[in-house]
């Protein structure tokens, strides 16, 4: 549908520095863009502006002390990072999480997935130029989720709620009724948002067929999450490698075929519906009993290594832990989704215009905390 056309007149490319301080680079991301007029010839990304050396810091903290550090990785969905880290440590130290803890983990993981997709779709539309309105509508829903997280763990953004062997505190008694009231509200909102934007011609013009990521390139780059599913890779760790109690819920994985920005937006909206479906089922079946296994504050896992990964909102988030039977992890490598999802940006962007570069970059949905670690 988009025809390619040779550039006729001879122009001289110039380099534009979309620096760390740019309104739509989602944090401190910098790229040197070689432009020919408006057409992007090549981009050279530069990272490191938010590199705090979290992997080095983790080597000096106890296993529980590392949990607040994982909050700061992908600060848009802190609960997801805690869960990934705790799943890895439990695999390393062979700790079994009680039923109630698992159900609370599934509920909070799906809640943070919805919150993250709200932010992702909102900021992509903000980059496409709809000045704030879709962003504020989505942020209104994310605000409701912030309230629930604050009720649960005291903090809105950096939760530090999940612990090794379960969760830190039990659900307050007014949490589940509030969540039950929230689910239909979000259903109504998503339908209204679909009515608002799904057939918007300008959004279709700006997003359909733009920044296509072919399936084989996505697979070869190790892309995961909504970005891969939009290109047709039907891979979701909640189904392929189920952790926690995800195998007890039935939900399906939305995928699309031609992998352009519009499909990523569609996949994220469908995933929000699926997450709501999971929360619906989980609320009804939350069992009683302990919410946390008998785990001391400072644990000494046996020497060895383990790799635990979850299907985070942005894709496969994994922690590779090596322990030498001391109180601190000997080495902890973080398989960061945003960092790897960015490898394909160069192929996606070549030949498109600056305005598309920004929309494509927004559709990938990265957080710089997770890229730079």
């Amino acid at each position: 549908m988009t025809t390619t056309q040779e550039i006729s007149l001879q122009t001289e490319p110039f380099v534009l520095n979309m620096g760390p301080l740019h309104p739509s680079t989602h944090g401190v991301y910098r790229m040197r863009v070689t432009l020919d007029g408006e057409v992007v010839l090549d981009i050279e990304p530069m990272f490191g502006y938010l590199h705090r050396g979290i992997e080095k810091l983790m080597e000096e903290r106890t296993y529980t002390g590392c949990i607040p550090l994982t909050d700061r990785l992908d600060y848009a969905s802190a609960m997801g990072n805690n869960l990934a880290y705790c799943v890895a440590v439990e695999k390393l130290a062979k700790i079994r999480v009680p039923e109630r803890g698992e159900y609370i983990r599934v509920i909070t993981a799906e809640m943070i997935r919805i919150a993250n997709h709200c932010l992702a779709v909102g900021s992509m539309l903000n980059d496409a130029g709809a000045l704030g309105t879709p962003f504020f509508y989505l942020w209104n829903e994310r605000e409701k989720l912030y309230d629930l997280f604050e009720m649960l763990c005291g903090q809105r953004v950096l939760h530090n709620y999940i612990r090794i062997g379960g969760v830190s505190q039990d659900l307050p008694d007014e949490f589940l009724p509030a969540l039950e009231k929230f689910v239909p509200q979000l259903h109504k909102f998503i339908n209204e948002f679909e009515f608002f934007l799904k057939q918007n011609e300008i959004l279709i013009a700006r997003a359909q067929g733009v920044g296509v990521l072919p399936k084989d390139v996505a697979l070869n780059c190790g892309i995961s999450g909504p970005l891969a599913r939009a290109s047709g890779i039907k891979r979701d760790l909640r189904k392929d490698d189920p952790y926690s109690v995800y195998d007890r819920f039935e939900f399906d994985i939305p995928t699309a075929e031609n992998g352009d920005c519009y499909d990523r937006y569609r996949v994220r909206m469908e995933e929000m519906k699926q997450s709501l479906h999971i929360i619906d089922q989980a609320i009804k079946k939350v069992p009683g009993g302990p919410f946390r296994a008998k785990v001391p504050q400072i644990i000494r896992p046996p020497a060895g290594e383990a790799y635990g990964h979850i299907e985070g909102p942005k894709g496969e988030l994994g922690f590779y832990l090596v322990s030498d039977n001391s109180i601190a992890p000997y080495r902890c490598h973080i398989r960061s989704t945003s960092f790897i999802n960015l490898t394909a940006l160069r192929q996606m962007v070549k030949g498109w215009k600056i305005a598309d570069l920004i929309v494509i970059f927004g559709s990938i949905d990265i957080t710089m905390g997770e890229v730079d670690r």
Partner: protein, 166 residues
């Protein structure tokens, strides 16, 4: 790619936006209109109970930032270390709550209020008596369900509990 829907998609969008004018905004006017924060809110200060504290320094070990500094002397008063100084540099504290969680004697609470900004970096360092609980420094219900019951219920945007502007 073409405009498949004769511009109706845009009109739908416009319809939704204009209808939003008649809805009540979900923002609240902060200084005049204060919403109740969560009962387990992790406020940016630490509250230490001198009587209950036995000087075991579990909190100092549990803190990932190494912010709590505790000096005890060995003359045991009724089978407890005498705590000389208990210094907390809240400037470096990331309010993760691991110390409150680790304390076996419930001697440590997190603050409930969040408006504790200071002008001088030195004022962040608080020692023994400044850490006591007082009406200006209420304790939050984080890891203390008994305190949580006494605190007011949290206002939720879900229940649209943002009351009209006074």
């Amino acid at each position: 790619m073409q405009f498949k829907f004769f511009g109706i998609g845009m009109l739908k969008g416009l319809a939704v936006t204009i209808l939003h004018i008649f809805r009540r905004p979900s923002t609240s006017q902060y200084p005049e209109q204060r919403l109740n924060i969560s009962r387990r809110s992790r406020g940016n200060e630490l509250i230490w109970d001198r009587e209950k504290c036995t000087g075991c320094a579990t909190c100092a070990k549990a803190c990932p930032q190494g912010v709590i500094e505790i000096v005890t002397s060995t003359d045991m008063a009724d089978n407890k270390y005498k705590v000389e100084t208990y210094r907390v540099d809240t400037g470096y504290c990331i309010m993760c709550g691991l110390c409150v969680e680790a304390c076996p004697y419930d001697a440590l609470y997190l603050g409930y209020s969040f408006e504790k900004a200071k002008y001088r970096r030195g004022e962040f360092v608080q020692t023994n008596d400044e850490l006591k609980e007082s009406p200006q420094r209420p304790a939050s219900g984080y890891f203390h369900p008994d305190i949580a019951k006494k605190l007011p219920k949290q206002t939720l945007l879900i229940e649209k509990a943002t009351e009209k502007r006074k």
